[in-house]
């Protein structure tokens, strides 16, 4: 590696470290602060013999502990994305997608997955491909639980250096204001008290794609439902 490459790599690592410290001191500190508050309230409520409030506070306490756990698990998962495990191999895109379709449709009864893909084989990271596609479909399910008849269409088109995967669903969609923010770690569109998700799924997907030299973006102009486009390189 040239000196310039080392310098760039160093600066990237430095930035990632700073981002990591920021996440710890803001996102993870938040439930910790709540836990501190709630434990004081429990002491006060016990003194006042307000047991109903104590019970409610314990529920909130458990909820915040849970959130902290989830965030730390997400960080651990993200730190593992860049590890070069020996999982490089051949991927038959159409077959892989069919297997994912079968597995996930079996799990979620009200879901239809449509696949439109050419017969194409890549030398890439098959496990990561599986993880990324599965996460995106399951994300659509998670955010559209009230919708009966959720449909996710996956269309693959071959290009010169990569394959382009378009994933379109007929669910609630992602508003234009949020199409870039949704990939930020721990960012959630909905209020966590009303609808809880850790907000790490799309970040894991994005970082996986960064690792393999691909790309993901959300279409801000999708008419009905969410439209995500992935560029997956043909050679690793």
């Amino acid at each position: 590696m040239s000196e310039q490459n080392y310098k760039e790599k160093y600066e990237l690592l430095e930035k990632e470290f700073q981002d990591f410290v920021y996440i710890i001191s803001h996102d993870i500190k938040s439930p910790l602060r709540a836990i501190q508050n709630i434990t004081e309230w429990i002491e006060e409520d016990i003194n006042d013999n307000n047991l109903e409030s104590v019970a409610e506070n314990f529920e909130d306490l458990k909820d915040r502990v849970n959130r902290m756990n989830n965030m730390i698990d997400a960080l651990t998962l993200i730190s593992r994305i860049n590890s070069r495990t020996n999982e490089e191999g051949e991927l038959n895109v159409k077959i892989a997608l069919s297997e994912i379709k079968e597995r996930i449709e079996f799990e979620y009864k009200n879901l239809t997955i449509e696949i439109d893909s050419p017969e194409i084989k890549l030398i890439t990271y098959p496990q990561k491909f599986n993880q990324v596609i599965s996460e995106l479909i399951e994300n659509a399910v998670k955010h559209n639980q009230e919708l009966h008849g959720l449909k996710v269409s996956i269309k693959v088109v071959e290009s010169t250096d990569d394959i382009i995967i378009d994933i379109q669903d007929n669910g609630c969609g992602i508003e234009a204001d949020f199409v870039e923010k949704v990939f930020n770690l721990f960012y959630t569109i909905k209020n966590k008290d009303d609808f809880y998700t850790t907000g790490a799924g799309l970040t894991v997907v994005k970082k996986t794609l960064d690792f393999i030299g691909g790309n993901i973006s959300a279409n801000p102009e999708s008419q009905k439902g969410a439209h995500l486009r992935i560029n997956w390189p043909k050679t690793k």
């Binding site: 001191s25 938040s30 602060r33 709540a34 309230w41 569109i189 909905k190 209020n191 966590k192």
Partner: protein, 142 residues
């Protein structure tokens, strides 16, 4: 105790998305026997709707504002507020978690009445309010 302006009890609006942070303010009010009505909006968009729709009468004189909220965050909300003729003169206290947030806000020059470090340190809040009501009396704000 009731915080008053011109002899009238004022309404206070809390804009925060987090249930525990909201409870913190409610409990602090109770503990310090502040009896002013505390209204809640869960994000900037909801707060603007409440203010513009005259849901709260008389209109709040004080807003306690959280920064990190879904849909519309604190900075965006405050920009909208200052651009609105009817709403621009409401006193806004920012609830921050660190001094970094304070610097971030100062940079926008949005006429913030004060910063309160989370969790709500009540002594600070009450001091800020006392200064504010004294100022109001001084300028005979209608």
């Amino acid at each position: 105790m009731l915080i008053k302006a011109n002899g009238l009890n004022i309404n206070i609006l809390l804009v925060d998305d987090d249930k525990v942070d909201i409870k913190n303010v409610q409990r602090a009010f109770q503990k310090n026997e502040i009896d002013n009505p505390l209204h809640i909006a869960r994000n900037g968009l909801e707060a603007l709707e409440m203010l513009r729709g005259d849901n709260i009468l008389p209109a709040p004189r004080i807003i306690l504002l959280d920064i990190n909220m879904p849909k519309m965050n604190g900075i965006e909300f405050l920009k909208h507020l200052r651009e609105d003729e009817k709403l621009r003169s409401i006193s806004v206290f920012i609830m921050t978690t660190s001094n970094d947030d304070k610097d971030k806000f100062d940079a926008y020059n949005l006429n913030v009445a004060g910063y309160i470090l989370k969790p709500l340190t009540f002594v600070d809040f009450v001091d800020s309010i006392k200064k504010l009501t004294a100022y109001w009396e001084l300028i005979e704000f209608n």
